[in-house]
């Protein structure tokens, strides 16, 4: 415990790195995942097949192997050689998480009843109006809970960066575990830091859901 207090700057640095990893990967995977989802629900057959293949392959690969591709295998073909570790970590986590974001967004779109769009067209709304005021608002609302679950899992998954040399929370816990006797206290402290992040996402999602809830 004294170690933790004496070197609290190291703990805070690790916490900050985990936050950076989570926020940057979150943004990248939301962006790329939404593009994938658009491809999957779009009318162009080739793009649909491509996005489906991507999601199937990536979803069934362990994240650790995605990290192996980015950190260990890519330098062999001259990629990511001088890239900062944080960027490489964000790339690995985003490649993996986008597949899940795609599925969450798609489930949101699928949750909108067909009749909604048909009714919108029947009263003469244009494509833009149908999308903007009828379909997408409902799709966003339906995809909040699954997206929050994806982001929570992603935040926990950033821990795998520790295996590849990033000193984020998990890597830092390992460093402290090597050096001191009361490992249980250290574990609980680091676990609590993760729980703070997870609860933040959870509370945010519940708030959004409440705000966007509509009478049915």
């Amino acid at each position: 415990m004294e170690d933790l207090i004496d070197q609290s700057d190291l703990v805070l640095q690790a916490f900050w790195l985990t936050i950076q990893l989570a926020v940057l990967s979150g943004l990248c995977s939301l962006l790329f995942g939404t593009v994938l989802a658009a491809m999957r629900v779009g009318p162009v057959s080739v793009l649909r097949a491509a996005a489906t293949t991507y999601v199937t392959l990536v979803r069934n690969t362990p994240l650790l192997l995605v990290f192996v591709f980015v950190f260990v295998a890519a330098p062999n073909i001259g990629w990511f050689v001088g890239t900062p570790f944080l960027v490489k970590g964000v790339i690995a986590v985003s490649v993996y998480t986008s597949a899940f974001v795609c599925e969450a967004v798609r489930s949101g779109v699928n949750a909108v009843a067909l009749g909604q769009a048909e009714a919108a067209r029947a009263i003469g709304l244009t494509f833009g109006q149908t999308m903007g005021s009828v379909v997408l608002p409902q799709a966003y609302r339906a995809s909040v809970p699954p997206l929050a679950s994806v982001l929570i899992a992603m935040t926990k998954n950033t821990s795998i960066a520790a295996v590849f040399g990033l000193m984020e929370l998990t890597g830092r816990m390992r460093y402290f575990s090597n050096n001191s006797a009361d490992d249980t206290v250290i574990f609980v402290v680091f676990a609590a830091l993760y729980i703070v992040l997870v609860e933040l996402i959870s509370v945010g999602a519940i708030g959004l859901e409440r705000r966007w809830r509509a009478a049915r």
Binding site: N60, T61, L65, S149, A153, V163, T170, V198, I206
Partner: protein, 281 residues
Amino acid sequence: MTSVLFDIPGPRTRRRHRMYAVVAGLALLALAAWFLKVLNDNGELAYELWEPFLTPAYIEVLWQGLLDTLAMAALAVLLAVVLGAVLGVGKLSDHRAVRVPSWLVVEFFRAVPLLLLIIFLFLGPLRLSPYWSVVVGLTLYNGAVLAEIFRAGVLAVPKGQAEAAYAIGMRKTQVMMQIQLPQAVKIMIPAIISQCVVALKDTSLGFYVLAPGLTTVGRRIWIEFGNQFQTAVVLSAIYILCNLVLTALATWVQRKYVGEQKLVVPMIGAAAGESAGRGGL
């Protein structure tokens, strides 16, 4: 095909979509060709680098790794089902003294990264072996997730079932064991199989503590041959294949025994019935 997003396309739109498809197809082909060229220019397609995966001795080593991985995942899921049943029923208990600790344990292990847990089990006061660090870690994490699935499964059984059982004079334990759980199990099985996919993928974390299994075997191979890329491709292919088989099994069970009903598992930190969504990457 009808969709909420767009109307059924007419002949002109279909022509346009076909044109987009051709353009997109060409672009994707170009991308694939370029990637192959990059691989070829760096000698990654050389036969020597792929040879280990066609050599019987190495196939045997990989096979052993796969068996270890599957054994770890299977043992962990088995233990997790038991733990999940205990915690899940505990969360449904009428007694606060049982409910609150069960809730606490479930929320804690669902919110903590598995790797952090494995490192703690490996280096902490317990000093478990690499094998047991991974198995116990997987058990605790998946047990917590399965507890939520059990709870959701029991709650998905129509209320009248339990009420009827109480009405004919059954005790609480009898109602749970004889009426609610048997019906809940049927609804839960697809979700449990899907959780096996998560557990199987997470066995790869054994890499960090050098537990037996595919990723550790893979590291040995790429250290020997310097074929990091090829090894990663082969390992991913093995994982993807196993997971696709499991997913197909889950879908089949769902269709055959359960039908349309889907389990809804609350998000971490959400009150029951508030936020829905399956976590578990």
